[in-house]
């Protein structure tokens, strides 16, 4: 009997341990999006009040510069954590569009009046349908949408400074350079 065969179970065990160790470092709430590189699902939503217009999927397709589509809600616990980052991103010139998900428009207005409004436009999605079409599982989530209205990336959870500098900003720069 060739002796090296006895090493095979040990090797298999080592591979299993490596796979499991890697798996344990992953966050199970980060579900990969099925919409990457696909166009935004069709929607046309009203704004938070009669004075402010909402937006539609078509608003993203007219060859505009790449944008962020941020899903938020006034009831969301992690959104205030992300908010200063969004204000900074918007101040830096990146258009941020807001989808107010499963929320009452009046509450969202009050929430934004208190924390500041980073959004160029806000669409109200009280029935959650647009969020579900986008595969949203919770708030906040942020989509990077290119100039053709295609979703290129999805961030789950608050955008940290590291997420912005390391992932989102370089990606937006790359998308701006695209035809």
């Amino acid at each position: 009997m060739t002796r090296w065969l006895y090493g095979v179970p040990v090797l298999l065990l080592a591979v299993l341990v490596a796979v499991f160790a890697h798996g344990l470092t992953k966050d199970p709430s980060r579900i990969p999006s099925t919409l990457i590189d696909r166009p935004l699902p069709p929607f046309a939503l009203a704004g938070l009040d009669a004075a402010s217009p909402g937006f539609a999927a078509a608003d993203f397709t007219a060859g505009h510069e790449p944008r962020l589509l941020n899903v938020f809600a006034s009831w969301c616990a992690a959104c205030p954590v992300e908010h200063p980052m969004l204000l900074k991103i918007a101040a830096g010139g990146t258009p941020v569009y807001g989808l107010d998900w499963k929320d009452e428009p009046a509450k969202a207005s009050a929430w934004l009046a208190q924390l500041g409004n980073p959004y160029r436009r806000i669409a109200s999605d009280p029935t959650a349908r647009t969020g579900i079409d986008l595969g949203v599982t919770g708030v906040p989530e942020t989509f990077v949408v290119d100039r053709h209205g295609r979703i290129r990336y999805k961030q789950v959870g608050p955008i940290t400074a590291a997420d912005w500098e390391g992932t989102l900003r370089p990606m937006l720069d790359r998308l701006r350079a695209e035809a």
Partner: protein, 154 residues
């Protein structure tokens, strides 16, 4: 005695009521056949917020929304498969509690079979090898040594 009967009745009531489903009366469809199909489908769909519960079991607001969507699709005439596909299009295969057989899950589905068959072949070959080793019997020296040992015992 009355207390005993009461306790027995309570025990019976507790044991006969299964885990309560999260489906609200307001969500349910009038058509019992459609509602039954919706319940069956919902039990196979993952609540994407709570991860290891089906939307049929979960009280999460998003699970409620997804249950309503399943019922809407069925009412609109979708087949069971089409209603499930509607949510798979949005949330990916992750939304299915039972992973489908696709290239990415082949290891999951075939792995145990491959290990079992492979292990079986290894064990069978080892057993066959052992059986093939000829019984050479004892040499004269060995027989003498064995005889000495056995005598010593007596």
């Amino acid at each position: 005695m009355r207390r005993l009967v009461l306790a027995a009745a309570l025990l019976l009531a507790m044991s006969s009521s299964g885990p309560a489903a999260a489906v609200l009366p307001s969500e349910q469809l009038r058509d019992p056949t459609l509602e039954a199909r919706a319940r069956t489908i919902s039990a196979t769909l993952r609540c994407v917020v709570c991860q290891n519960q089906s939307i049929d079991d979960s009280d999460a607001p998003l699970a409620h929304d997804l249950r309503v969507i399943v019922r809407e699709r069925l009412t609109a005439g979708d087949s069971d498969a089409a209603a499930v596909q509607y949510l798979v299009d949005r949330y990916g295969h992750y939304v299915l509690l039972k992973p489908p057989v696709i290239p990415a899950t082949l290891v999951l589905w075939l792995g145990p079979v491959v290990l079992l068959v492979g292990g079986g072949i290894v064990v069978a070959r080892l057993a066959a090898r052992k059986a093939r080793v000829p019984d050479a019997g004892l040499t004269a020296d060995e027989a003498a040594a064995a005889a000495r040992l056995l005598e010593g015992r007596g």
